[in-house]
Amino acid sequence: MGERDELFDQDAGRRKTIVEALLFAAEEPLSARRIAGILDDATPSLVVDLIADLDADYLREGRAFRIREIAGGYQIVTRPDLAEWVASLHGPGSPPRLSQAALETLAIVAYKQPVTRAELESIRGVGVDGVLRTLVERELVRIAGRAEGIGRPLLYGTTDHFLEYFGLPGLDALPRPDELEVLFADRERQTELELEDEEAGGEPGA
């Protein structure tokens, strides 16, 4: 093999590795065009070849993943025959994310407990039936008794699972309103719906 070919091979190997890194780290399927744009010295069709090459590597080496073409792009995905194993990762351990409504309602329950549905609705300004049901189902909120007075409405409170979920050692570890001010004050500007990406790092004043 001439020196030239060797150089070429090195280059091809380097490109293949970069393509692999890109496919691995991307959040969504990447088109050959996009990859070629990043590589800068490769055409989309070369990229397609490199991807085929990678996929062949995975097959030959018995890797747990393959490359699949999705939505006009390429993506590394786990092999279908391993699906049941992968699914066990996402078992009951990770229920869907709480909605903002659920989070708000939960926050009020945590701070105002024991609290009636009417109180929750008056603070949030909207009905909370569905949200409350979800929270009870997910064992973040429990029925904590009945209020005195007309109709003796149900009272709601948080559960032990609530503490666990948020990593709180106990209910009294919830910051008091004055402590909340310290932890979350000054967000006025940012609360104006995040006009700038707020993670502006540096904390000059501190």
Partner: protein, 248 residues
Amino acid sequence: MAGESTGHSVRLESLDFEGPLELLVYLVQKNEVDIWDIPIALIAEQFMAYVQAMTPERLESAGEFLLMAATLLRIKSSMLLPRPEIDEEELEDPRRELVLKIIEYQQFREIADHLREHESDRRLVFSKGYREAMEGGEDGPAEPDPERRASLSDLLRAFAELMRDQARERLHRLEPIPVTIEEKAAFVRELLARQGRATFEELFVPGEPRTHWIVTFVALLEMAREGEIRLRQGETFGQIHVYPREVA
């Protein structure tokens, strides 16, 4: 060494120290003095020179610097007192407490440097950004990170903001709402029709009264509930994107 004390103050002024301990560490290093035998008069003098030259922007932390200055002066004067002969072993060096503080602080600064290195290293490696990786379904890619767990910080923020909103509500309750949900929904539709999708913040026109934003927000919730639009957020503080339903 002690003779050239004032010579440093000029350049010192232009440096920025976040707190008095940082300044002290700097002075100890710069003067190359033994931490266990700090020439307190010298250090106090340079410290005061810095404090006196502090710019107005730094006045926020001036209190902390002044407190330290007072400590330095107190130590300096107690060093001048004649020491009683008795029990010299037991007599504490008036500088001791300060020295321990400086050393402890310096240790944490070094740990901070250490963390900085880790931070840099860590930023060179990337984990898989895409979580739904199971072949089989043909329904295209899942939304990024749909199941991120709510953190305590999310919860607390929700409450802090509710409290603030309530306080604000009380102040603004009598204001008439000069815009309707329908109007805002129409605005959102028009924007989406024009550009296909929109970021959350594009929908909130800067300078509008807060009530408009609230109405826009309610309109969005309404439209999302009706399935007319979809909201997506890639990461916690990331951009929220608004899509019309048809776009897959």
